[in-house]
Symmetry: C2
Subunit: 353 residues, 2 copies
Amino acid sequence: MSNRLPTLAVVGATGAVGTVMLDILSTRENVWGEIRLVASPRSAGKRLTVRGEEVEVQALAPEVFDGVDVAMFDVPDEVSKEWAPIAAERGAVAVDNSGAFRMDPDVPLVVPEVNAEKVADRPRGIIANPNCTTLSMIVAIGALHRAYRATDLVVASYQAASGAGQEGIDTLRDQVAAAAADRTLGERAGDVRSAVGELGPFPAPLAMNVVPWAGSLKEDGYSSEELKVRNESRKILDHPDLKVAATCVRVPVVTTHALSVHATFDQEVDAAKARELLASAPGVVVQDDPAAGEFPTPADVVGTDPTWVGRIRRSIDDPRSLDLFLCGDNLRKGAALNTAQIAEVVAKEFTEG
Amino acid sequence: MSNRLPTLAVVGATGAVGTVMLDILSTRENVWGEIRLVASPRSAGKRLTVRGEEVEVQALAPEVFDGVDVAMFDVPDEVSKEWAPIAAERGAVAVDNSGAFRMDPDVPLVVPEVNAEKVADRPRGIIANPNCTTLSMIVAIGALHRAYRATDLVVASYQAASGAGQEGIDTLRDQVAAAAADRTLGERAGDVRSAVGELGPFPAPLAMNVVPWAGSLKEDGYSSEELKVRNESRKILDHPDLKVAATCVRVPVVTTHALSVHATFDQEVDAAKARELLASAPGVVVQDDPAAGEFPTPADVVGTDPTWVGRIRRSIDDPRSLDLFLCGDNLRKGAALNTAQIAEVVAKEFTEG
C-alpha cells in the first residue's frame, strides 16, 4: 500500500449527524487527504466548513465515489441500500450508519473499542455502524462482558429527541416553548396534548411527557428500536445466546441517550471490581458517587465522546447481576464518532499498510 | 357497631397530596360524617373546600383526634412517626402515607385491589400506604402474580417532579420556562445546567434532562426509592423471596410516574392471556395497540385513577417473562386515592359492622 492520505466522502453531510461529523472531522487527528461532502441534490452547492476550510456540497451520483477510499453514509435506510453498494463497486469502503446492512452476515457491525478486528472481514466492501441506542451502552457492556460473561440484559431506555433527526429536535423545542407558556399544564389528562401543537415524528407529546415508542412496529408488539438493541448487541458481542429484553422510551431531552441496564453474568460480580473494569476501559468514564451528587445525566454528557456510567450496584437479590445507568451522546458516539472511528481503522490500511 | 357515619381527619390537608385528597373526597361516594382538616400551625385558619363546603384548617394537636374514627396522614416521615401513634392512642385508625411505618411488622401495608384483607390486622392502630412508585405498578403486577407466580422484577422508573412535592413541581416549571427561552440549549455539556437556575429538591437539572436519583442514599449505592420499590413490593405481595432490581430516575413530567417492568414468573406466560388478566383486574386499564399509537403516557394518564398498562410483550428470549410499560398518577393512586381507598375499607367497619 502507498503512504498517501486516503480520500473520504461524507454522504449526508447536511443532516443532524452530518453536522456533528464535520465537527468531529475538524477536531480529531487528521488522517484524511481530500474530504468530499455529498448530499441530496437539493443541498448541492451549499458550502460547509470542515477542518477550517469551506467545501462545496456535491449531489449524490455514482461519479462522486471515483477515487474515494472511504465513504461514510448517514442517510435513510433506503438511500444507503441503493448507494452504499455503488460506492463499494467504485472502490470505496462504505461505512454505513443506516439500518440497511447491520444484520447482513456479510457485513461486519463494528464498535472499535469492542470488535475493531471485524473491520477487515468485509466481503461486500461495506461496514455497518450500530444503532445509536445500542452504541450508547455497548462499549461499557462489552468491557464487563470481557471479564464476566454476560448471559442476560434487561434494558430500559431514556432516548433523546435527536434520535428522530433535526425534525425531532425542532418538534421538542416547539413543544417546550408552548408548554412553558402555561404554568398549569401537566395536572389534567390531555391538557399537555392540546397545548403542545404538532407531534412531529413522535406518536404522542414529548414535552412534559415520556413516550414508550421509538421506530416502527415489528412482530409481537415490539418496536424496531427494541429489536435493534437485542439483535445488534448479540452481533457486536459475538454472542448469539445473549438474552436481551429492551423497552425503548423517548424522553424530552435534546441529545444524549440514557439507559438503565440490569446485566446478569455467568458468575458472581462485585460492584467495586466492575467500577475498576469500567474505569480502565477505553471510551468509558465512570461517574459514580451519589453521596456527592455524581452520576451521569444527558445534560452533562451531551457533546462528549465517551460512554458515561454511574449508579453501579450489585443487585440485592442476585449476586450475578449489576444494575447500571449509562449515558452516551447519540449523535457523537451513537452515530458520527463511531462512524469516524471505524473509518480511521480503515484509513490505517492506506497509511500503514 | 353503630350505623353512624365515621369522622375523618385529613392531616397535611394543604400539601400537594392533601389538595388532591380533598378533590378525591369530594368526588367519591361519601362515606364520611364530619371531615376535619388538619395541618401545621402556620396553615391553621385557612379555609379549604371539601364536598362543596368550606372547612377551616385546624393546627395539629392531640385534641384534634378526639372523636375521630380515621385519620389520614400525608406529612413528612418524622411528623407521622410522632403523630400517627398519638392519633391511634386517641382512638382513631391512622392511615399513613409516609415511610415511617411501612416496613413495621405490626403495621399492614395495604393496596385494596391486592391485599384489602390486611386492613383488619393492625395491632398498632396504624395502616401504611405504600410509596408512590411502588403503587404505580403493584396493582397490575399483583393481578399477574395471582395467575402466574412472580419470581423476579426488574424495574426502571420515569418519575414525575411532583414526587418531590409542590417544590418539585415549581422547580420543574421554573426550569422549563428558563430552558424554553433559549432554543440552542441541550447540545453542549453544561449549557442546560447553567441556564435553568435553581435545582430545588433535585440533584441535577430536571428540565431537558433525566436524573437517575430519587430519595436519599442508602447502603451499597442504592437510593431510598429503589429500596422502597423492592421491600414494599415484597411485603404487599406477601412474597419475601421475590427478587427485585430497581433503578429510579426522575424525568421532566409534572405528575404521573411511569415504569418499565421486566417481570419473570415461575411458568411460561402468554401476552394475550396477560392482556386479558390485566383488562379484567380492578383498578387496571389496558391501553395496548401500538399500531394505532395506543400506549399509556403520563400526559394522558394524569388525573385518572387506574394503573394504565401497555407495551405488553412476552420477552423474546425468555418465555417466562413479560415486558410492560405502566403509568399511574403518583398523587392519586400513588398517594391520595389509595389512602382514601384504605380509609373507606376501615369506614365499612363503622357502617356495616
